[in-house]
């Protein structure tokens, strides 16, 4: 060994490289900062979504309140109260004509000829009842129509005024802008200026001297000359003219006065109601003379009379309601929110009053989710139990990826399949003769709750399956082994040991499946039938064959055609917020269920 070897080598050590320092930070903290920045950006942007939704949606409450105020001030609300009786009367008429139709059907079944039926149904007595009844309300209808027109006129005038006021404000803003000497014409202004000048020249509204200058000005403006003092004056005078003209077009609505056009003639209205009542009573007396010769029909006729009696008793109340109606009653802010959350109508772009009530959409979403979950839960959970506990490993290796693959099928493809295949198949099935005994068959609409529900079930199954299978898979082996060791059969083990211990996981899987179903858009947009109405639960099971509309569907359908910032636009954002909150609640509670279970286990 030589001493040379012990000498330190001349090579520089590994760590000799100096650290790069920028702004007092070394590379590592710069990299950390970079990651931190991107993470912040991503997270902030994600939270922005929440903020933006709330920002756009929150304006709804105020705007809807204004709209409701106008509804009251213009007397449309008053007219709607008037309309209630008319609607009731129409319903009664409908009932009566149903009786008539049934009567004709019965007569046909009895084998009478067309002429004999006609003779019976069109006999003077029955004609007086059936036709006479529908004629009783003609005065009422005419009266209400007049009042409605008056109210709509007031409302429209108010809206025109609002629009004009906005134009006026724009002009005022422009004038102050132009008065400032640093003002420069933008391309848009230039075009507008030329247009207005040309109009004036054509209308010969200038004196000869000015006419010449303005003609010169037009040429100058076209070639892009900047504004000088003189032309500025001309521009200003033009703008002021416009301002005055617009101001003159505004005819302020004095609601206290104009409302009289709607609310006058109350006495006449009461008289109309009284004659209506008297006429109806007279006709009802006559109705005994019709020989229906059928117990069922006669009992329906009795029921009709009872309904009429109800109608009569409601009239005095109606009268006081009309008398007490107050145009100036306050519309509190909470009213607009509550009428959104509990409103039963979603009517947009109507000539009377737009209503934004979420109930029909919420009901539609819930009923479709209910149908979907009814199908998806047994199938999804059953398949999960089967693959994890019963099936052979080969089956397991095939089925698991297959069902996972289903979850990747785009929703629009499933919706398309529903329109083209399932909807048609369902209608075909319901029209088969040997299935005629099933109530509600044949179905009227091929696209209804059931169609959409079945397809959504197909979308929810993979979610439920995958999560439930995971939950079952995570059950400790020793539980199963202990159960088998004390002599339980495999199936007993599965249902009494494994499923109960995986229950929280399965429940959270079902909840997440629900979350997926309620947020699905394309399938419901294509296959739910899109009728905005609260489903009639009085139909029993028939409710599943009605077309509905959903929260997601309404956003997708109407978002494309709304004006930014309008009440409608904001109402759709409110629906979005409701969806957002619903999905958050579902997710959080699913996590809560799992967490609680885990604590119990440890």
């Amino acid at each position: 060994m030589s001493t040379e070897d012990l000498q330190p080598k001349d090579t520089s050590p590994e760590f000799s490289k100096r650290r790069v320092v920028l702004f007092g930070k070394d590379t590592d903290s710069i990299i950390k900062g970079f990651f931190g920045c991107t993470a912040t950006v991503a997270i902030v942007v994600l939270f922005l979504i929440t903020l933006f939704l709330i920002k756009e949606g929150s304006g709804f409450v105020g705007q809807y309140q204004t709209s409701l105020k106008q509804y009251r001030l213009s007397g449309l609300e008053y007219v709607d109260i008037l309309k209630e009786r008319r609607e009731d009367h129409t319903a009664l008429m409908q009932y009566l004509s149903d009786i008539k139709a049934e009567w004709i059907n019965l007569l046909k079944k009895e084998g009478l000829t067309q002429q004999a039926i006609f003779k019976k149904v069109m006999s003077p007595e029955s004609k007086a009842v059936f036709l006479g009844y529908s004629r009783t309300s003609s005065d009422l209808r005419r009266f209400i129509k007049d009042k409605m027109d008056a109210a709509i006129e007031i409302r429209d005038q108010q809206i025109t005024n609002d629009n004009l006021q906005e134009t006026l404000n724009n002009y005022a803003k422009k004038i102050t802008e132009v008065e400032d000497y640093s003002f420069k014409l933008s391309e848009e202004d230039r075009a507008e200026f030329i247009l207005k000048l040309k109009e004036k020249v054509r209308a010969q509204s200038f004196d000869a001297d000015k006419l010449e200058t303005s003609k010169g000005l037009i040429e100058g403006l076209k070639s892009g000359v900047a504004l000088d003092t003189k032309s500025r004056e001309i521009y200003l005078s033009l703008l002021r003219d416009e301002f005055l003209a617009t101001e003159n077009r505004i005819q302020p609505v004095i609601f206290e006065k104009s409302i009289l056009k709607v609310t006058n003639e109350q006495q006449r209205y009461f008289e109309i109601l009284n004659t209506l009542e008297a006429d109806m009573k007279a006709i009802l007396l006559k109705s005994d003379s019709i020989e229906l010769d059928n117990n069922n029909l006669e009992s329906r006729m009795e029921r009709f009379k009872e309904l009429n009696a109800l109608f009569f008793t409601s009239i005095p109340e109606h009268k006081t309601q009309i008398k007490e109606w107050d145009q100036n009653a306050a519309v509190p802010l909470s009213k607009s929110l509550s009428s959104f959350l509990t409103g039963k109508d979603w009517i947009t772009a109507s000539d009377q009053q737009d209503w934004y009530g979420i109930l029909p959409l919420l009901c539609g979403s819930l009923i479709i989710s209910f149908v979907a979950l009814c199908i998806a839960v047994p199938l999804g959970v059953g398949a999960a139990i089967y693959t994890n506990q019963i099936s052979s490993p080969l089956e397991q290796n095939l089925i698991k990826p297959y069902i996972e693959f289903i979850s990747a099928v785009p929703s629009v493809v499933i919706g398309f399949f529903g329109v083209v295949v399932l909807g048609e198949a369902m209608r075909g099935l319901s029209q088969l003769e040997f299935l005629a005994w099933v109530p509600f068959f044949p179905i009227q609409e091929r696209l209804n709750t059931l169609t959409a529900g079945c397809l959504l079930a197909l979308m929810a199954i993979p979610t439920i399956y995958t999560l439930a299978e995971d939950a079952i898979n995570n059950i400790p082996k020793h539980l199963k082994e202990a159960s088998l060791a004390i002599g339980a059969t495999p199936l007993q083990t599965t249902f009494r040991v494994i499923v109960p211990s995986a229950l929280s996981g399965i429940i959270s899987a079902i909840m997440l499946g629900f979350g997926r179903v309620i947020g699905e858009t394309m399938v419901v947009l294509l296959c739910a039938g899109n009728r905005i109405k609260i489903p009639e639960f009085s139909d029993g099971l028939g409710v599943f064959f009605q077309p509905v509309h959903t929260m997601t569907g309404i956003i997708a359908q109407e978002m494309g055609e709304v004006v930014r910032g309008s009440v409608h636009y904001r109402a759709l954002f409110m629906v979005g917020i409701v969806l957002f909150i619903a999905s958050l609640i579902i997710n959080v509670s699913a996590q809560y269920v799992v967490k609680k279970y885990n604590k119990m286990d440890s």
């Binding site: 760590f15 590592d28 991107t38 398309f416 979350g515 978002m559």
Partner: protein, 404 residues
Amino acid sequence: MKSDTNKQTTHLFSQRFSRNKVMELSITGILRFFTYLVIVLAGYLFLDITYNGSKAVFTKEAPFVNFQFLTEKPQTLHVFEPADIDTQLKSAKAEILTKSIKRRALSNSNYEAAEAFTLAIKDLNKEVKELDDLRKERRLMFSDTEYRALATTPSTKDFVYSTYAYSGGGIGPAIIGTILLVFGSILIALTLGVLCAVYLSEYSKPGKVLQSIRLSILNLSGVPSIVFGLFGFGLFVLYLDWGVSLMAGWFTLALMALPVIITASEESMRAIPKGFREGSLALGASKWTCIRTNVLPYAMPGILTSSIMGIARVAGETAPIMFTAAFALRDRLPWEGLENSTDFFFQGVMALPYHIYVVSSKIPQNEYTQNMQYGTAFVFLLIVGLFALSSIILRVKVRKKYDW
């Protein structure tokens, strides 16, 4: 004697059919039935779309792929059906209808007469089928460009003329639009998502804040896609005034995929054992070197899986692009007729999912429109399915490879 033979076969451990056994078997049967029901139903959907869609996409002759359908722009279809055959068909069908009504009327009373009607209807049905074949042979179909190029249009005396929107041509721009949308958005989402995940899992200090951020990101991944669409429409299209454009679509889709990618990438990074990091740090590596050499390579398969799943999700969504990026019809390809290069980012495109929505809701279903409908759905399903399949296969492989 009979009881004797029975006794011989039943020994102590032989299978006996008790009530419990039957119960078990039937429950197993029900569960198996459920599982296979799901498989069969989904299989029917796949087969139906594949079978009908392949008629549009594949051809019987040489190249076997209908490139026209895959590359051309969608057009209106002009159909000329031979008038004489059309009237014959109509009368034959009317005949069948009247005969079947008559038969129903005397179905029970006069058996022989009813039988005669049935035979007549059978004959008529055969005739209708022949006529139909003839009609298919003699009818003329033109796409918009072909129709305009015609020197003389077929006379309306000999032909019944009808048009079907969107049903002619192909889906080229829609395929290109979808690819552009998916790649742009996934680029944005992956960059932001992976960087964010690295920070969250490696640099951030564990605590309540981190926990709540993680939880809220997880919750955001469950928010319905239409809400993202609403947000994108409000912010990008209206507020930032980008209009219906590729940019707006990219950002909307990216934001939708972001929570999924962050959560999945972070999870796959956290799954790497602590020892990997500690080993490299103990050797004096800096934090970044440790992440670069000992964390990211092992997390990469997991990130890749999640990102491919993200692609499948992004490509499959319709609701977010309905108002932000998609046009129902646009006859220019994205790179055609651009004045400025920035215009490329601010133009709307056609997209496959939106095209499916349009052709399945806006036009009637019949033999002429079916090709377009099924063809689009098939191509779309194929593209999304390939992504999803590769992600599933990758995941299975990764699970086997890295099992610590």
